[in-house]
Symmetry: C2
């Protein structure tokens, strides 16, 4: 199925319940879905080379417009042929709009109907982000997929505030689409609506009616109970356009990913596997492993016996624990590589299970094994 | 030529003036000399995997006994088959005695004729390092080469203090040799004597008479002018046993290495290429490059056009500068890889030039090119 932007297509392959496999094509890249996008905030997936990242199975990564706009600057990156040329990533790239970081990182923001004025968290310099500017900067960054500027209200915002944010997000979405498209760059719309199913469904209708290449769900995983998110996804995901990629933004844990795949989501991004790695937390087929715990001190077994990444086939838990405790950079690097490898394997196996029509039983077996051995909360040493 | 410890040998190959190539064999590894040893203080060359390190041409690395003794503990490492099994380094390993760090890092040290009592810089726990304990711990660490415990007086110590340290170092050297040798582990003695040529020559005589597998020069690069070091090396190195490896400890810059090779030194170790990389300073065929300088902001050329390492063949100076400025871990990693690759290439080319009998002219040409383009001191931005 061709998508609105020339050179972009999405083909649904196998279907198993609400879940589906797909192939998302951009003029430069091919991405099998469901897919997890590692986060490369500042044009680098922290500690890894592009070669390392690709070895985990990832074929699309995310970079943060806010960060790259401020440093080193979008024009500087454009001169390198965009983020992919700058960091030498040979596959697909999605950029966010910058709005999320403006709200979470920038100082003294004021929002109006036209956009957001803020001061950089780096040097206090004044900037203005509008829907048009978000598209201009993303065009310079040269991503395969640009996200529209949206407003994501806080998790516990009152209904009226959520409705206002929805309305503004819809207007900004239309303004983004009216800007001159960048060569070879598709655009995804974003659905807001908090945890109210009726608001979500209503906003989905608005966004789904626009000429986007994909539709994203924003404002999840912002503090609401995960059970509530899973319930909402079960209703919302199947109502999203079936012939476009469905992207759940900023989510999540291995459990979140599997539940969302079951609901029909195709794409994910999250800092969890990379950020937790830097804190010494590994995500494995046997649940979370906290390498700071004393129990790993003399453990010569691999992090994850079911994993074939180079971290698991080479090093012992004792060595990884030593690196983390001694604050050696190789620790975050090796655990990041494993965590992304695990996320890649989770998505690859999910695709395989959808093709075999066995997604449900596989998800239950996988989750129960993970929860059994989960190590969170055990004492450190 | 076989060395005193079974399984160890050193064969001099080509000779060019005082310089020579050699092959140092241990029961487990083969090292071509002149050789630079990257420093892997805590059983990791910071930011790199063993595979990365080997790709730079390194076939022997150094680990610090003091650090590994305190954390994770020598017994824990012995259970992994020593440092090489713990970190999965497949080539040769040299460990220092721990003495240097006891003097530079530990708290409340008291030294007596028998050894040194100190408190750990990590947790304040009390420890005692004697010549025998240094050998016991290094046996557990399982290095190919263990260094004797020595006393290295401060650079500006008075002559009497240097003579006292020499005497103690000689006594400790004999005590180290009287300990039960560890299977497959050779031992190097250490020559002290500060910057007084007569003291150096006298101490060299003492140490050279003992049954060591190699002889090291300690106490250089501790604040004396480099010209003075080069002059002393020109006298001392040729007087060191010709049939054993000659190791200049803790040295140095590319210039230091080339001058010392010309004097007849075979082995080096230094934190400079790895430590400076983490500060954004690259060492190249064109001299030092400070990636923090504004001039590199939009520079799409490689770090070193004459280098074939993956950092130089893949990334631009602008991207490397961005990583360093943004404090991204990939920056130190990529620059460390380059710096060690450069040191490896410097040693490989020196060996080749010795074989061709062209070391002298090559050293002058190399140094003059480096000094021409050297970037130290240029303003940052």
């Amino acid at each position: 199925m061709t998508l609105p932007t020339p050179g972009f297509s999405f083909e649904v392959g196998a279907v198993d319940g609400a879940a589906r496999t797909g192939i998302f094509r951009t003029p430069r890249a091919v991405v099998e879905t469901p897919a997890f996008m590692p986060v490369g905030t500042q044009a680098t997936v922290k500690s890894l080379t592009p070669e390392d990242v690709a070895s985990t199975g990832a074929r699309i990564i995310l970079a943060n417009t806010y960060h790259l706009w401020l440093r080193p600057g979008a024009e500087s990156i454009a001169a390198h042929g965009g983020v992919v040329g700058f960091m030498k990533w040979p596959h697909a790239l999605l950029t966010d709009s910058g709005g999320y970081q403006v709200f979470s990182l920038a100082k003294h923001r004021t929002i109006d109907e036209d956009g957001i004025t803020f001061r950089s968290h780096l040097d206090g310099s004044l900037h203005r982000l509008t829907p048009e500017e978000a598209m201009r900067v993303q065009a310079l960054l040269g991503s395969d997929v640009a996200m529209v500027l949206d407003e994501c209200p806080p998790g516990k915002a009152p209904r009226e505030e959520i409705e206002r944010a929805m309305k503004r997000t819809s207007e900004w979405a239309s303004r983004c689409l009216r800007t001159e498209p960048a060569e070879g760059q598709g655009r995804f719309g974003i659905v807001q609506g908090g945890t109210a199913l009726d608001l979500r469904m209503s906003h989905l209708q608005t966004i789904a009616a626009l000429d986007f290449d994909g539709v994203a769900l924003g404002g999840f995983s912002v503090g609401e109970p995960t059970a509530q998110m899973y319930e909402l996804l079960t209703e919302i995901a199947p109502a999203m356009p079936a012939d476009k990629p469905r992207y759940l933004m900023g989510v999540g844990t291995p459990t979140d990913l599997l539940r969302a795949v079951q609901a029909g989501i195709d794409m994910f991004d999250c800092v969890l596997p990379t950020r937790n790695a830097r804190n010494g937390q590994a995500l494995t087929w046997g649940g979370r492993v906290n390498l700071r715990q004393a129990r790993h001190r003399d453990d010569q077994s691999p992090l994850d016996t079911r994993c074939d990444c180079s971290t698991c086939t080479t090093y012992s838990r004792a060595y990884l624990r030593h690196l983390i405790k001694a604050e050696e950079m190789l620790g975050p690097r090796l655990v990041t590589l494993h965590n992304l490898h695990f996320y890649g394997a989770l998505m690859r196996e999910a695709r395989e299970m959808i093709r075999l029509g066995k997604l449900g039983p596989w998800v239950e077996a996988t989750l129960s094994r993970m929860h059994e051995e989960d190590e969170v909360g055990a004492p450190e040493g």
